[in-house]
Symmetry: C2
Subunit: 339 residues, 2 copies
DNA sequence: ATGAAAGCGCTAACAA
DNA sequence: TTGTTAGCGCTTTCAT
């Protein structure tokens, strides 16, 4: 392998000092036009590019953002990841990926690994953070923002959609459509998204003088969701729900498939179904799922702004707790009008 | 922010030299039991962890793998990304993500950026590489492997499924099922996957004395695929295909939806559909798509092995060109028997 | 505006 | 086995 070109080699060729070369690559530095020209020529002749790692070591800024993700099976996350990565790239940063399963111990050891890379900031997507790990990052001076997950007590910034309002809207729609027997299929109960969606949903239901007709837990996982659906729509029951709100789109697809192909109900004639996220398959014709949209673009933009702002402004204090408005997207999995 | 603990601080506290601390963290180094113990204690009391970037600078090994991805909309890639990242993590590496659109200029500038980070290796997923960019990496001594894309001439390693055989198998199945009027919907013609799948498909078709009934280009993109489907199954035509092989699953879902809901054909009664990839939605009940499986686990394992082997063995020469066997997965989007 | 010099935190000879 | 020493490639004072 050919050795990398260094700034000293460029300096020698350009007939200037090594520091002059460094200054040429430092945004707000003082270099005369002629020096700049000499450096530019020498650098391009040699094919020189500054070594980011060396720069990181002395400056303390790596321009690397650590991104922790638990799973990519929910297609909201690949989309978010792509947008996050692009947004950071545009601002001169890059994303170092860390996969983490939900276990707390795992998350904490992953955070240690991240810190080893001297990242400038950390984005945690769909992962909860123990407050001890949070303060570990605080101590290291590395800003953290939670993406699509929030924690009430801790002073950690978080960007989510407004899950409470989203849950409300789902309930409101179903009620307005004339449904009286409304079921709910919950996600993993450790997730703030699940809890907030359900809380908003319950609030609107009870504000309307109704109560939730049936509740099962799908845990955000396929097998559990299948079982939950079968239990909720058990044929032996005298009365079954005429509508169901599912805590995310991925579970909703499973619910729809079971309802149609296993239980033999028609959507939306027999049952209205509504999901949460608006991932791409929700708009595929076979599902055409009414859902609450998480505005990925906005969430990503705010996440990037928040963390970059913290990086450039290390002394800023209050955590940002942003809840992005989440609009209802009405498609054909819910009935058209009063049933 | 609290400053990071350095090896010198640990050394002082442990009453040993700084190099002793360094040795303690170097796998095959010579440290006595008592020194090791002293360092271990001091380090844990201080919460010391080695700075990977500093280590990278002097050793020339960053333990970072650059991963270039063009798009995550095809759900084969999030899956691959997750598995790749996990596999590298297990071997002590981490993945730095670079999103790149297909344009050659973009890929080349992205590669420069990657090289700036002193990565130990580069995995390019679904991206083609100009030979000049390839030799740029060669010159930098950074091994590259293409994931799910290959290039005949260049001496760049690549891991793909056996797309030619996969295409053949798809054709064989359709023919065995008794289909005579078989259509093909192509992906983006710049992709080696598309070309190889089609070549295998064509070979088997003509070996059987048939010819392709109709061919349209979907370009791996939704709008184009819709149009291609409408053209292929235009109602004004006297004869329409009774089967169609679609170059990937994502296009196949669109084809199925159009066929069923826009054109009013029944699958598989009127038309058999077969895709390629076996992404998760292919097994969702609404599609239940017959397809050729790309064995992501195997492809990932080989990719990781190949690149890590190159990193540890810089002098090894011949490029690896691996084609992983791709089995047919028969579901209900193809008819059961001779029609 | 420019060069000299110090040093970021670590590894890798080299002696001892 | 251990400590001393010399850098890795860069940014950043500090004089000039």
């Amino acid at each position: 392998m050919v050795d990398r070109i260094t700034s000293s080699q460029v300096a020698k060729r350009a007939g200037v000092s090594q520091s002059a070369v460094s200054r040429f690559y430092t945004p707000g530095a003082s270099v005369s036009a002629k020096t700049a020209e000499k450096v530019k020529i020498a650098a391009s002749e040699l094919g020189y590019r500054p070594n980011i790692l060396a720069r990181a070591m002395v400056s303390g800024k790596s321009r690397i953002i650590g991104l922790v993700v638990a799973y990519l099976e929910n297609y909201f996350y690949p989309e978010a990841l792509e947008k996050l990565s692009n947004a950071f790239q545009e601002r001169g940063y890059h994303v170092l990926i860390f996969m983490a399963s939900q276990t707390a111990g795992n998350v904490s050891s992953v955070v240690e690994e991240i810190l080893d890379y001297q990242v400038d900031g950390i984005v945690m997507a769909s992962v909860a953070l123990s407050s001890e790990v949070g303060s570990r990052c605080q101590a290291a001076g590395v800003p953290v923002v939670l993406f699509n997950r929030s924690q009430d007590m801790d002073d950690i910034s978080s960007i989510t959609s407004n899950n409470f309002e989203g849950g409300r809207k789902a309930a409101r729609l179903l009620i307005d459509l004339g449904h009286q027997k409304i079921g709910y299929i919950a996600g993993w109960e450790g997730a703030s998204t699940q809890r907030d969606r359900e809380a908003g949903f319950n609030k609107e239901i009870s504000d309307s003088g109704l109560s939730v007709f049936s509740r099962k837990v799908g845990n955000f996982r396929a097998e559990r969701t299948k079982a939950a659906t079968f239990e909720m729509f058990d044929k032996s029951k005298v009365e079954r729900p005429d509508a169901v709100f599912v805590a995310n789109d991925h579970m909703a697809f499973i619910v729809m498939d079971i309802l149609r192909y296993e239980i033999g109900l028609s959507i939306p004639k027999d049952v209205s179904v509504i999901g949460y996220d608006d991932v791409p398959p929700a708009s595929w014709r076979s599902y055409d799922l009414t859902t609450v949209r998480q505005r990925a673009n906005l969430m990503v933009r705010e996440t990037v702004n928040t963390i970059l702002n913290r990086i450039e402004n290390p002394n800023s204090s209050d955590p940002v707790k942003l809840q992005i408005d989440s609009p209802l997207v009405i498609r054909s999995s819910t009935c058209q009008k009063s049933i």
